[in-house]
């Protein structure tokens, strides 16, 4: 005979102000099978939990229903309390009286009636609950880090430093990401490459890190602690073991006029190339789309010149499958190009450039060797206009968010320009200056006060060309909306930071969630900032939201510490909410008819075939069996099973029907 205890929580005012909790407790007390029913201001508090524990002991309860908040918040709390009092934790259920009732309804008698309904439903369910025990699964202590920018580098180094194996996958020929492209970094103006390249080398030399560049994640299967990752290692056209990185091939390649991705198309590169001199690994790749040999079948100059005979034109992509325990997604960002802006010339004016292009112009390793020259005629510009919020905070362009880094890098750009061209004039059109951060506002003030950068509060309506000058037509809202026209030699757009173009596909491949702007969605915006909703997958850097280097590095270390925390255990306890195929006495053995429709339906490949043999070892029947380590408890097989042989533990058909009948 069931002996159920019901505990109604007021959650302070959250439930108590719209639901008559005492009435709910009283009504619940009259339900058949309920032997104890009380209400209390905060059930999750210590005294509240003690009430539950005492009742379990004194009333010899066989089941507990807590009417409180969402089980996502406090189910673990109450189940632990039950466990401490000697009741199997899976005999405790929560009725969500807050999110499902008090928060979404007015204070009316119907609201209290609904709360009573919700409690009754769970009482009927809990009467049919069975004691369950959590499932133990092993943990593969090897992490996959996706993306070799500063986020991926930091996460990989931290995890490797804690003694675990790391597989770092980067799709471009070298690690380093956007940080390698930057000239100097705010707010200290230290050289970006000087602080980044030692980390890159450390990655290459670390015994715990396996680096796959020019590679991409093909697929990810499995679950926390037990993923299986398939990596496509694209054909470099170069045998990495033989190549010494001498660079003869890149010097001799006759096809040198290809716009360089690393220099944001402001410089050129050959068809066989390393993206930049400090690349890691310093091994070239052949750009097959542009190599003369692949298009015309002739040339092979690189192969002839290579002193170690490392060129492999017929090399093929390689698929590598690795067992992985945790994943860090650090897939980075991209920016909008100047062609995104009709009002700024659709990208047709060579002297309208992006912030990232300006970084390359200002960088000592860039196409102009660090001298600021405008692209059209290589002259040093005397008047430069920087336009902040180019695309960002522009809902008409479907980018309603703030890109966060532009205020700071625009101040840096203006400053760098003034440091390099002393007589030059720098103007910044801005809407707001968002310089929250250590020494950030001081940095912007320095640009304004010391370097006399002209900050104009207003947005630019149009940029057009007149007599070789770029005419920037804007407004100064601090001068009573006066219209401002500046004849500029160079215009730099702080274009919006956006998710990678294939971010959606990547997220779907990993079965993780993303937002409307295709940035990856963390599990909780405040309290679980580096975890994804999919257990075992973590996030770092600008693939989650626009952020600067310090924040990216902090998040990468946080993600790494989560991975290391996970790897500190040799096995994980999982909720036993998994499917089971029934077993009955011989001669039936199971109501499963062995149709194996479930096998095709299961999205996680959790269905196995179980041979039922007699004592003589002869095969009697083959029936389905669920691998509990792989099953995610989605219930697809349960819905599909024609002979009703499969049930979901904790959510059996019997329990669900009882709940429905209690409504």
């Amino acid at each position: 005979m069931a002996r159920i205890g019901v505990f109604i929580c007021h959650c302070g005012e959250n439930i108590g102000s719209t639901v008559d909790c005492a009435a709910v407790a009283k009504a619940a007390g009259e339900l058949p099978g309920v032997v104890h029913s009380v209400d209390y201001k905060y059930m999750c508090s210590d005294p509240g939990q003690s009430m539950i524990k005492d009742a379990i002991r004194t009333q010899k309860l066989t089941g507990v229903v807590v009417g409180a908040c969402s089980p996502r918040m406090h189910e673990p709390t109450f189940r632990r309390a039950c466990n401490e009092a000697g009741l199997n934790p899976f005999l405790c259920e929560m009725a969500n009286l807050r999110e499902h009732c008090s928060w979404v309804h007015e204070k009316l008698p119907d609201t209290t009636a609904k709360a009573i309904d919700l409690v009754r439903i769970l009482v009927e369910k809990v009467k049919r609950n069975k004691p369950l025990s959590s499932i133990k699964v092993p943990v593969t202590k090897r992490a996959l880090v996706l993306g070799g920018g500063i986020a991926g580098i930091q996460a990989a180094l931290d995890i490797a430093g804690a003694g675990h194996e790391v597989v770092l996958v980067e799709r471009s020929p070298s690690i380093g990401g956007h940080m390698a492209q930057l000239s100097e970094t705010f707010p200290t103006l230290d050289c970006s490459q000087c602080i980044l390249t030692p980390r890159m080398v450390e990655v290459a030399q670390h015994p715990n890190i396996t680096l796959y560049t020019y590679s991409e994640l093909e697929s990810l299967e499995g679950f926390i602690g037990n993923f299986k990752a398939t990596i496509r290692k694209r054909a470099r056209g170069v045998d990495e073991k033989l190549c010494t990185g001498c660079g003869v091939c890149t010097q001799k390649c006759p096809n040198k006029k290809i716009p360089s991705e690393f220099n944001e198309h402001l410089g050129t590169r050959p068809a066989i190339y390393v993206p930049f001199p400090q690349a890691v690994p310093n091994k070239p790749v052949i750009d097959r789309d542009r190599c003369t040999y692949y298009s015309k079948g002739k040339c092979q100059v690189c192969a002839k010149m290579c002193p170690t005979k490392a060129i492999r034109y017929d090399q093929e992509d390689e698929l590598i499958t690795i067992d992985i325990g945790a994943v860090v997604a650090a897939t980075g960002f991209t920016i909008k190009g100047t062609d995104f802006f009709p009002e700024y010339g659709y990208g047709q004016y060579p002297n309208v450039i992006t912030g990232l292009q300006f970084e390359r112009l200002a960088s000592a390793s860039g196409p102009t060797l660090g001298v600021i020259r405008r692209p059209s005629d290589n002259e040093i510009p005397e008047n430069v206009v920087f336009i902040a919020c180019a695309g960002s905070r522009d809902s008409a362009k479907r980018l309603s968010y703030c890109s966060k880094i532009c205020c700071m890098y625009t101040a840096k750009h203006a400053m760098l320009y003034k440091h390099k061209v002393h007589e030059g004039r720098a103007h910044v059109f801005y809407m707001d200056i968002r310089a929250g951060g250590k020494m950030y506002d001081e940095f912007v003030r320095r640009a304004i006060e010391e370097d006399q950068v002209n900050y104009i509060r207003g947005r630019v309506s149009r940029v057009f060309e007149r007599n070789g000058k770029m005419i920037v037509k804007g407004v100064d809202t601090l001068l009573n909306g006066q219209s401002i026209e500046i004849e500029a030699d160079l215009v730099v757009l702080a274009t919006a930071m956006t998710a990678q173009p294939d971010a959606e596909a990547t997220a779907q491949r990993m079965k993780i969630s993303y937002d409307a702007d295709h940035f990856l969605s963390e599990a909780h915006p405040k309290l679980r900032p580096v975890e994804m909703n999919t257990a075992g997958i973590f996030v770092a850097g600008a693939c989650q939201a626009p952020k600067d280097i310090p924040e990216t590095v902090a998040q990468a270390s946080a993600a790494a510490s989560k991975v290391v925390g996970l790897f500190s255990r040799s096995e994980l306890a999982r909720e036993p909410v998994v499917a089971t195929v029934n077993r009955t006495a011989p001669p039936l053995f199971s109501t499963c008819v062995g149709c194996f429709l479930c096998e095709t339906a299961c999205p996680y490949q959790a269905i196995e075939r179980d041979d039922i043999r007699g004592r003589d070892g002869q095969l009697i029947r083959q029936v389905a069996k669920v691998n509990q380590g792989v099953c995610q408890g989605c219930g697809t097989c349960v819905a599909l099973c024609r002979s009703k042989a499969i049930d979901l533990q904790g959510f059996t058909n019997e329990q669900v029907f009882a709940e429905l009948l209690a409504v």
């Binding site: 008409a396 362009k397 809407m431 207003g458 630019v460 037509k473 407004v475 809202t477 909306g481």
Partner: protein, 195 residues
Amino acid sequence: MICHGQEDGEHAHCTLAEEAEHAVGVSAFECYQCGKCTAGCPLAAEMDWSPHQILRLLQYAAPELEEQALRSLSIWLCLTCEQCVTRCPQEIDLPRLMEYLRQQSLERGLMHPQGRDILAFHEAFLDSVRKHGRLQEVGLVANYKLKTGHLLQDVLVAPRLLARGKLKLLPQGIKGKAAVRRIFERLQHDEGKEE
């Protein structure tokens, strides 16, 4: 229409911004004052309040400032060229709002003195179209001058316009005059119904 104060059962007071949103579906509160409308506006230099400032006046939701917007010259100078709404990052239909403010300005008798001339021009324009089915320039000029009393304004350009054949003295009708007249009747009818 829900205006603030109404939920509490107080005397409902609709601000001009709320009325405008209800009437023409344009919310002044979406404006974040970037000034891109003003930067592109061909008439901004002539205006007493820049386009973005008109929105700011409405955002205060204060009767004195609303009145300043309705008394402004800017609302009458607006050409509805739609440069502002084309560029606006918040997609605020400013020309539509300006039209609403002109109507309100007229209704509440707050029209800017110079606005009268502009209104007279609009009326003269429509009179001509109503009568001839299309614009008849000489009639428009004469009508405008009679309405405003600016009898000698721009008379010196007339001979040159005549010489170049830009001014046709006799009205040139169109085939579908009756159809145009029906359009006017229909609009007036609808307007009457709305009121």
